[in-house]
Point group: C3
């Protein structure tokens, strides 16, 4: 048996404010206690935000159709994936003006586990051809026009959400993101599978970045990032200062701390697979982010070891380019184009690791790909 | 018999989310199958948008109180009036920041059949006295504060919607648009009758423009605009290139196409009436836009023969001035003022023409007003 | 007996769209006909705004959780406290972009009796460290994340509303306003008691100002402000022109009138108490605004004797500083900081005075504090 439920379709006039399904509905032949619940958030800056809660029987996570189908947070038993942003609410796009604060309006609602950045641009705010490109583009603050839930039995009992988010305006781009989020019943991971289609009549540049963000309890003094890095380069002077400890975490800092950003060239497996692992000091907890380097050719590490109250967090960011201003990336040949009707596809897998065994298994796999330390570029990429 | 129903009044605290009335309610003594339905749109960027669907038994059209009482689209039997914008949703004002993208934020939600532009300014974005005036002003993204539906029997069975939209702020203008949209049962037309009142305590400039937009099936290669033009002038160098074919359409173009804008001086009838006609190549389909030149002294033609996927459309735009930056129009003496308590009135009639007979009848009427070709000004108005 | 009702909590997922309680619910042992009603406003730019109506049996007032817990208007019998702004609707923050119109977006929704200004900045728009600070900061357009109503019997039957409003973003401030509004059953006053807490991990500047605004019937030709002023200074050349009549009102003006702003140094009582009184020409009506100068060290008087239709109003504005651009105030040493975890508290009392006796009693109290006329500074503070 299987089920496909349309929750929202702006063209067909479908919209369900509340809906749920669970193991009690006898759709899947499994003993797992799974559920999918669609609800609406209220109060403060999250008034009116759509939210879908998924529980696969082992892993729980929340998806926000109103915010470009982002993943707000996840939980594996007592272990939370996510972080404590000063922003505690799932802020509605209506409360955010992306171009404000020097183009940093995106930060007004930044508190999620996985954001998508794009579609017309990612990275630092900049002016490109006279137009202000705000930080990380618009897709993280655009609502899904069509939302479906699928619960399928074969080949493996699986929950799959699908959201379609359109980034368009007259005389501008016409890009459609079809964002799938899939989890197998009883698994410890979810997969984001995304397609970006150029529905416009002309070639169109695009940029795409996953912003996967983790804080305590995984992130802490002694936590470590493991990746088969061939090369590591600091973004700027600030990152260069801490270059020797690029993959190590020292815990929350004193006020005055400034973020560090590193550009990593990973060694992929033969089929392009890249695994990254963040683990706690004692390796009893971790999370892995995996993707294919043929889809996402660039990897950025964001370390923000700020005081806890300011948002103590690190970000793993596979992308189509580095998150520098678009003109800089275009100059470097890292801004691809889609022809009319052409698609781009990418995926990342986020796996919650609740035991030392799980952490060390992935660590071994990464060490197998490459044992040597990376080449360290001393010179900052910017300036 | 007749009926008047208040749907919204922000001061009285009246708001109906859903309401409808139809021929089954026995209000009008007619065999026509008419209806008026008020609903709320959902999903994507149209979440929460109020919509009124009118069916006069022959012609259907939708009116959007949330968007300054614009007309989203219309249908006469199988013939659609409207166009295929990349923007497929009736975008809520909350998702639009007019001043973004160099003042072109208006385009983020542009997909309608008839927009109203104004009230403080129309036309290209510009800076006037240090303030950024965004493209086409604010009224197309302001919600109606009071909405009524009237169904009247005498003298002719008629459906009339009325919306009041206030454009005001402290230390700024205080202008009230009372927008009426009227259609006779069984007719093939609707009439927009608007009043702009200065409710402030000082003289106040205003500008007003109707942006009536048409795409396929009327617009196509071989389609033509018919108007008793005395003079035609290109807006800019681009329009000057295509000046000889100003009233002809060649069909969707290749990527790289740029819009053409022409300023037309029409010959009005004795009482000021101006008829414009857009017809398909074989004249089997058409639409006319009629108005009074004493109310709307200037006429602009917008041709956007872009690829279909980018928005293939032409706009007929009668207005109080040309859609140039306001300082340019002020300099030319084309920006009127309203004294405190003073009103301005204007109206346009949009008629759907479903047969060659109907098309040719209006064509003949226009040709009667003037047979001679227009004077063609070679020099672009701008630069 | 007493009652505490949670109306909204964004973290707990509590939200009540409609709720009410009244004397009929037998909570208080009083004959007064009191009530508290929570509702949602509709239509125009106030669509979706939360509103709490309080009636203490004598005084009625409305509080807007969606707008930083401001007080929209109040009524004591037939006497209204408030003013007639061109903005008649309680405009939703979604319809306001604070940075628009040169940073004066705040005025798009300005029509209330008491606004709070802050928390990161107050006063005139300016650029500070490259960032545009919009007029009067953000708190007046931020929604409450948590709202409670308390009705308590002891020691005095009292209605108390509490709203928590968070002003935060990633890499920015993390300030929480806890705004209490309290009124005793049968009294003619309400008290705003506010706490601002720095929940961030670093020291943070803040600014805070109450903007209490009054129009007819209290404000009129011959109305007067009474305050134990030690010194009065004009903000600018315009205010300097009218300096001799700084505490007198001449009635609505002709178009072309420009606002006047005066900076007042009041004599406080021994415990820091400052009373200000605005009364009508014949002293039959008035309103007092009282506060403590240890909390709110600066007092500004805003006179806007514009034509009635443009907003005829005066504002009494106790604050942590003068409402000049923040860099100017910082330079003068008037921008305080909060350490992590530190709180700032302030309160104002607004009392409606419906008889000459009440007016004269407060007038006498103020005259007791100081009989001498103030020192008048001729030189404008700015320029």
């Amino acid at each position: 048996m299987s089920l496909s439920q349309l929750l929202t379709d702006s063209q067909l006039g479908v919209w369900l404010d509340h809906w749920s399904i669970s193991s009690r509905d006898s759709i899947l032949d499994t003993a797992a206690d799974w559920s999918v619940t669609k609800t609406v958030l209220h109060g403060g800056r999250q008034e009116g935000v759509d939210c879908i809660l998924v529980n696969n029987g082992r892993l729980q996570f929340s998806v926000i159709p109103t915010r470009g189908f982002l993943v707000w947070e996840a939980k594996l038993g007592p272990m939370r994936l996510g972080w404590d942003s000063p922003v505690r609410e799932v802020v509605h796009p209506h409360y955010v003006t992306l171009t404000e604060n020097g183009g940093f309006g995106w930060l007004d609602g930044f508190g999620e586990l996985v954001s998508r950045c794009g579609l017309e641009s990612i990275g630092a705010p900049c002016t490109d051809s006279g137009v202000l490109l705000p930080l990380h583009g618009r897709i993280n603050y655009l609502p899904a026009s069509r939302v479906t839930v699928e619960v399928v039995a074969d080949p493996t009992p699986t929950i799959r959400l699908r959201g379609e988010v359109v980034e368009t305006r007259m005389f501008g781009a016409r890009l459609r993101l079809t964002a799938e989020i899939e989890t197998q019943i009883g698994s410890n991971e979810f997969i984001l599978r995304d397609t970006i289609a150029n529905e416009g009549g002309a070639d169109r540049e695009f940029q795409y970045l996953y912003h996967a963000n983790f804080g305590p309890p995984i992130l802490e003094a002694g936590a470590r990032l493991v990746v088969a890095a061939v090369k590591v380069a600091p973004r700027d002077k600030r990152a260069a200062e801490r270059l020797a400890e690029w993959d190590q975490y020292t815990g929350p800092s004193q006020p005055g701390y400034t973020e560090e950003v590193y550009y990593i060239t990973p060694q992929a497996s033969e089929n392009g697979q890249v695994d990254t692992l963040l683990h706690s000091a004692d390796k009893s907890r971790g999370v892995s982010v995996s993707y294919n380097s043929r889809e996402l050719a660039y990897l950025t590490l964001w370390k923000n070891e700020a005081p806890l109250a300011n948002g103590y967090v690190t970000g793993i960011e596979p992308a189509t380019s580095l998150p520098n201003p678009r003109p800089f990336e275009r100059q470097a040949g890292r801004v691809p184009k889609l022809r009319p009707g052409e698609n781009y596809r990418s995926a990342i897998t986020v796996r919650a690791l609740g035991t030392q065994n799980e952490v060390e298994e992935i660590e071994r796999r990464i060490r197998t790909i490459r044992q040597d330390p990376p080449e360290i570029q001393a010179q900052p990429v910017l300036g």
